[in-house]
Symmetry: C2
Subunit: 411 residues, 2 copies
């Protein structure tokens, strides 16, 4: 008998009618003979409402109290889905994080799951019962308090639970029908992928594709959880299969490049003629880290004087002004000749596990972009992706260009 973890996000449980639709998806799988655990998010808008109440109570709210307040959203949707299922004659019960328990670290608002005891849920499968589990939340055993996993944490709950109950499959139901080669709003020829590797999905999620939360993909990769991304708005009696996130060896016809991701929310900072001495990188980046500013692409090249170096990096555009102010304050300490910045840049990335074994993949892109007159401001590469930083105005053109040259336009 197959064992299945089904996860439904906030828009999929936004009202009783939508919850009924979710229940029909559950019923389809039950009728096919599966044992089923369901993870749900809070009803759409609910979490924002609760976060707003906390902020109104005190802008510097205690994150442990925030967790107690905000976790109530998933508790409600889990209870309601259990009731709807029962109304359809399907045995079901809701589980809150502390009841299973889903044990987490104490880091309120951003807890990490450290262990899940799936035994009681699995035991109930024998009675034909569907487990409906509140996502996004857990229990810290040291202080006995409710924790939340941070935004998007319901995906992580789902994958972790799938691993804990040894589910054969984890279906992430969302408002899109799978993972696409790129954003269909930018490239009309974007195609849904049948399969994508964990590694590729991880890069895509990190690089701005918002289908699944990064940590949940990472966890699926580590725990080898066979995960489908699929649409909750499909006809429950006849749904499309979605995209399978799986091991490399499960993918028969491997493309060199699987997808093009992009992020417009970038700003570039370049420090000219930085003294090329030990500790200079720390002098630049430690103060930024202490200010909570996330630094992404870092590129260092020798200056034209061959004695100093130029250092280029990106921050999110929201942190741009703060980052510049910190660097200007530390100018003497760091030792650089000039600070140059650009707030209006975008990062475009090509991802493909095939890059490991194919040379010259990135070079093809550089040539194509240059032919379109797109100036590349910086480049970073890893084993299975490369990213270029360009002027934001060229984002769509660059994405379409890369989508075409790597053969992703073909169906």
């Amino acid at each position: 008998m197959a064992r299945l973890l089904m996860k439904f996000g906030g828009t999929s449980v936004a009202g009783i009618d939508r919850i009924r639709n979710v229940a029909r998806h559950v019923k389809r799988e039950l009728d096919a003979g599966a044992e089923i655990a369901v993870v749900v998010s809070a009803m759409a808008g609910k979490t924002d409402e609760l976060v707003g109440l906390c902020a109104e109570a005190w802008p510097h709210y205690d994150p442990r109290e925030y967790d107690a307040v905000v976790a109530s959203g998933e508790q409600v949707s889990a209870g309601l889905l259990a009731i709807v299922l029962q109304g359809m004659g399907i045995p079901a019960r809701s589980w809150q994080g502390w009841q299973i328990p889903i044990v987490t670290t104490a880091a309120a608002g951003a807890a990490r799951i450290t262990g899940i005891d799936g035994a009681r849920i699995v035991e109930r499968f024998a009675h034909g019962e569907v487990a409906v589990i509140a996502g996004f939340q857990g229990l810290n055993k040291e202080n006995g308090r409710v924790t939340t996993l941070g935004r998007g944490g319901s995906d992580t709950s789902a994958v972790a639970l799938a691993a804990a109950i040894k589910a054969d499959r984890c279906d992430i139901y969302t408002d899109v029908d799978g993972v696409y080669t790129t954003d269909p709003r930018v490239v009309t020829k974007a195609r849904r992928l049948d399969r994508v590797t964990y590694e590729e999905m991880l890069e895509m999620a990190s690089l701005g594709a918002k289908v699944m939360q990064v940590r949940s993909v990472e966890l699926a990769m580590i725990k080898r959880v066979k995960t489908f991304v699929r649409s909750s708005f499909d006809d429950p009696e006849n749904p499309r299969p979605g995209t399978l996130i799986c091991d490399e060896e499960d993918i028969v016809e491997q493309q060199v490049v699987t997808g093009i991701a992009f992020s417009r929310d970038e700003a570039q900072i370049t420090l000219r003629r930085v003294a090329d001495r030990p500790g200079v990188a720390a002098a630049i980046f430690m103060p930024l880290a202490e200010a909570g500013i996330n630094v992404d692409m870092i590129v260092q090249v020798a200056s034209d004087d061959t004695v100093t170096t130029d250092i280029t990096f990106t921050v999110s555009s929201g942190d741009f002004d703060r980052a510049k102010a910190i660097l200007e304050k530390n100018k003497a300490q760091v030792g650089y000749a000039a600070l140059q910045g650009a707030g209006d840049v975008a990062k475009v990335s090509a991802i493909g596990i095939g890059m490991r074994s194919h040379a010259g993949v990135a070079a093809l892109a550089f040539k194509a972009l240059s032919e379109k007159g797109i100036n590349i401001r910086a480049i970073t590469t890893s084993e299975i992706k490369f990213s270029v930083l360009i002027d934001a105005a060229y984002t769509e053109l660059a994405v379409r260009t890369l989508h075409a040259i790597y053969g992703l336009d073909k169906s």
Copy 2:
């Protein structure tokens, strides 16, 4: 050092502004040197909203899921009050029922508290921390599920917690400033009582005065919890004292009658010439009990034929038609000559612990009502109260009459 349990109802925590007001009440008591635990209800309207969602999900919802859903309301208001207190520089933390734990029976939606371990809360008092506790909810240890105590259960949570932490006082903050001799909307001369005995308060609550929930008064009486009913809308810096519910011996100047209660929501049924044989009462009342119909006043008198009896009793007006239908169906089995009913009746009661030692208290009322032309349809008495059933049209007149003759008009 005084230890205090403060309870705030739904209207007192209906928004962040009102929660701030609650926090100011807490601060006043803290500044006076007290150790404080607070019990809160859900924000006004919240419980109804959650109940509505459950009913929409399935009208025959599983009460255990209902409990999981509905308990979230108090969880939110407890967290928000803790945050507001922290914002004022007051150490505080919220507690859900399962965290303390408040242990209850498994009866979902109507659980009874079987035990509370107050040790962890008391331990935190030493750190100057205010405990903010979600009312209305508990934990059933056998099945590990959240339970609720039924409507008005937050009062019961408050009194039970006050007993568990050995509080010197339990302050029930509500939208009135105390217990009145009768409803001020009916009798303008109604006065707030400084003190009332547990026994009197219990009768008043049972007889329709909606200040405190019956079970909580019963519990206060059993556990001897010194309880104040007072207004949360008073100026937190200068509040009125409210009404103390206490032992008989704590009341110096005992009135014979303390208050007049009334209930318009009554219907009368009279069965004429019922065979006077063993088992006839069971034949009448068992089917009603099985249908969930609550029977109140029961009066039995010999019929004029001296062989059979007439039996009169009341049900709530909402159950009137159902009760008549059941009795008509069972006519042969019960054996009666005629069924008479009146849907438009009211019950007016006078309560006073002084009745125990004063004869003729009720007789005074019968005379006064008759002089006003009010016909008494039935009478029941107990040690500390008597009730008369009258036509509903005379309710206000009867209440004002009794209020006057027992000296309650005087300030």
